[in-house]
Symmetry: D2
């Protein structure tokens, strides 16, 4: 008896199935598709055997040109980790019309909220004041808020205006800030149309009370925020770093924060975990966060839902609409590593 449901290969490692699929979504996947579940089997053989009949691969296994050539039925590669690694021959796949799909849209709302939360913490000293209160050193009312500032109508800077920038922009709208953006990949007209001011990196830094770093890492922008750039920030500026540690010279930032000139919140680190004796752990003007911006349960579980919706779209002869379609021009330029 034949099974004419499309065949889906599931190899999500290092993502874990129960984190990204709700029970209901998992049931629906198993019911509507022939599932080859390789979540416990990382062997090349198992993958190679399934590929020729695969309609979709959920996960981010290594696929060179030969593997893609074998996958004659393949319609989509669905990354469920969050980064496109250089282990796939993306051009070979895209030439075949195979959709390369990423799960960034699942994380973006969580990262955006977290970024706004960090910014408000920095504007108002929420975690610092909580520490003082626990130490019996709190200052009440106006005395305790001498360096607090409003986010409302503030000069805000974005470094990067991709998924994270757009999601954060949406949340900030009710605060009615003036937002300056540096993103060399986005035409000025797109920013202007969105109500943003397109400017250079230096102007973003020099003119903003609150700066959000949303840039992904490429060969061109590693360490683009060094001592020289950070010195452009006005006194009392707040810096929120949620994208990639590599865009930043952490020592330079630590020096600026230690001097008391600026405040910062950091969610991504050059090493994770950071060494137990890292001096950042004692820095008063810093909000310390351990890569927590995106991976909350609601975000992770929405990955499974997006996968299902786009499988259904493609199966019905429609384009995917929930996951992010990787741009041919960009997919090879990222320099990300998996979160372990």
């Amino acid at each position: 008896m034949s099974d004419d449901r499309p065949l889906v290969v599931f190899r999500p490692q290092p993502a874990r199935r129960e984190r990204i699929f709700s029970a209901a979504a998992w049931d629906r996947l198993r019911q509507d598709y022939q599932l080859v579940d390789l979540s416990e089997d990382e062997s090349e053989e198992a993958l190679a055997e399934a590929l020729p009949r695969a309609f979709a691969v959920i996960g981010q296994p290594t696929l060179d040109a030969a593997a893609i050539a074998q996958a004659g039925q393949l319609r989509c590669l669905m990354n469920v980790e969050g980064n496109f690694f250089p282990n796939v021959d993306y051009p070979a796949a895209q030439d075949r019309g195979i959709h390369i799909l990423g799960c960034g849209p699942a994380y973006a709302p969580a990262v955006a909220e977290y970024s706004v939360g960090l910014a408000l913490d920095l504007c108002r000293g929420i975690s610092r004041a909580d520490r003082l209160f626990r130490a019996g050193q709190e200052a009440y009312a106006a005395e305790g808020s001498l360096d607090s500032v409003l986010l409302a109508r503030a000069d805000v800077g974005f470094i990067g205006y991709g998924l994270l920038g757009r999601a954060t922009h949406r949340l900030l709208e009710s605060f009615r800030p003036t937002i300056r953006v540096f993103d060399p990949w986005v035409p000025d007209s797109v920013l202007d149309e969105a109500g943003l001011l397109p400017v250079g990196l230096d102007e973003v830094l020099a003119s903003s009370r609150v700066v959000f770093v949303f840039a992904t890492v490429t060969a061109e922008n590693e360490r683009m925020l060094g001592a020289e750039q950070l010195a452009l920030l006005p006194d009392g500026a707040r810096l929120v770093v949620v994208s990639r540690a590599a865009v930043l010279d952490l020592d330079a930032l630590v020096a600026e924060v230690a001097s008391g000139r600026i405040l910062a919140a950091i969610d991504v680190w050059p090493e994770e975990p950071m060494p137990a004796d890292a001096p950042v752990r004692r820095l008063d003007g810093l909000v310390l966060s351990a890569h927590r911006a995106g991976g909350i349960p609601q975000a992770l579980l929405s990955i499974g839902d997006m996968v299902l919706d786009d499988l259904d779209q493609i199966r019905r002869g429609l384009p995917p609409m929930r996951m992010q379609v990787a741009a041919r021009e960009l997919v090879g330029r990222y320099r990300n590593r998996p979160v372990t």
Copy 2:
């Protein structure tokens, strides 16, 4: 040579002049009005002498019916502290057409932002995770966010929909929550028109992931949030208290937080300062804040600007438009005490 500028009595205590008037605003006040500056003089005599010629009183001195009868030119009483105390015969003043004006609108944007900041801290554990990181106990990525939730599209509850509720509502709009409101002073239609769900107190508590307490204190609502009410909150609820400590049974809240069932942020306390050995100082699920929601520099300085704008309006025969006009029905019902 006569001075036909309107006479303004300035007696802002306990507010301090330099906190609420920028240098520019103070200069403008002195230039456009005859200023009787009693900021260093709390004597009854000085006030009594100035009152008969006063066009406006900036501050919140005691004024009984006799004093008001003396103040034949008086057009407005401008409270610059934030609360209406029972030291003025408000009906006598209002019968004379004297505007009773409060500076709540100066604080509301700051309180609203702080409330959203506290809510995001509770949703994502920002200050708790910062503490763990400093202690070398941080958990990275998904492991560190197991109880995190989104504010976006969440079920949110407001207890009270006055100035603070409205300002917070505006900021939350970009998060697109469902907001249930309990406010017995506001007609359901006003809430419905604003896109809110008017419900009873119990339903606000039972149906909300994040609850904001904005209620002012009256004879009717003291301790309205006791053990019984707090027990209605769903597991994992977040409670933000920024208005008045007296609406809350603090011990009951502490018990709920200590049990791990809910999380809370508290900005107002039954005693300020709280005792050094208060157990709340060691409670892990609490964000502790020392009456810091409203009194930030930008908010305080906007008081002077509002005072000037409304002096100008009234002098030109126009109604005040920046300060809050005290409702005849409500001004006597508040049970607030000054922040010291």
Copy 3:
């Protein structure tokens, strides 16, 4: 047997009961209040007899100081026509703490939508193109839209920023215009805070592609829009007049429109009805409207609901929250006449 429900006098003329009260609202009014229905009885005697026991008057009857002195229980005068006429001794009432309430908030949403509708008609030539199509003279596609412009991101001017201006501002927000406002009754800071540019009348006219006239009539602003002012409008400007005919020199506007230099929509006229042979009836660049902006069924019926809500508020010792509280400073300055 005594009836302790508050007594309400209902004398809505020229408003008609069934237009402003739904059946349900009318039933609720009769059930919760002792109703003295004078909608068929305009005699002074009937009113005089009811006044001493009246808690509220719904309508706009003549009430001089003596009448108000008789009305010892009176708590509110609820205008249900839309304009405050000079037939009431407002200061006498306000000194007694009697609320003077207007129904402008019932009309504002309807006027705002209509204003946006007229503006879009002028921007795109909707009614003119419909006329041409009916005459068999339509031009298709680009040829038929050579003088069309976008409202989105346009320079927009408001003359007046009261209830109508604010309601229209809210609707225009999604069009993201730059809005310049002239309103001498409103402090610049209020406009700035609302995201608007406070400017003088000349600058509103000279800098706007679309101008909305929302000004009410006072002694100071009659005919403020004369030939000289209208000449400031840029070529191709669109003018929407929905407030009061008296602020405008109609002949001057007709001349500008007849010349083809600007386009206009007019809803209010120096005479209503206009003469059958009025030349405006043949003017191609004009959208003609017969005082239709506010009085649609949904707006009229909301008056009854607002009346009920505010009766309930006042009865419960709370301030009215749905009708507009007349400002002591302004209520005597309007120069409106009833719509007949």
Copy 4:
């Protein structure tokens, strides 16, 4: 001397150069690119000669697989007419990684505003009342608005949620409607996430006061709005048709409008121009419009700007961001014909 600027073939017919390129944009195009201007030359030879060196083609000439094979340098096909016609072998081009780009985003804001303008006309009878006024038959105030309704908070239906639906949705946000959407190409979750209710076609029709038809034509949806479907509309419904005439049974709609049961605005017609004696020209409940929704000067000129921006993006190794990337799955399914 060699010219290393990328070669761009310009063959925009039936679009006209001066309509879609401002003088400044045209100058920039000629300066930054080698331009082969075929706007006056429709010969196959001229195109064939230029193709092998072409980096981009601006226009919509016929390109079969052989032609695409010749165009070894081609990176993008930029449609400047607005519809994808079946005269290009799209799969052959997409397999080569050639971007197929459409100019729909240039039209969408204009169509959206026009749709809202038509809806407000229908809600308030603007053009009908203008006709009556010109005929000396206007009714003033409430008498002239007996069938007027608010768009604010109304039940609104969208048939289709592509570029036009999304742009209109954005404009309608300040009216805070409840919007039901039927679009079989869009997952329910996308609509839900956008704050819309995903429903079937019948429910859109049966539950909406105002229905917008934004559906493009495919083999599946021709005449999907026939007599049976239109009968589902509630009495007094308003129907706005701006996408394609073929989705509608015009005779059935005319019958409904003629009966007085519903009102409609139509911008697209089975024949353009419509016959001089078409009965629709005399229908009172119809707003007649001659394919005027999108092609206004600002929209057309933005096409040139978008083309330039995306040429620059692609030249720099970045993905296009202003024009619409045609989905492989959809580009062959449209059944549009050019507007002549």
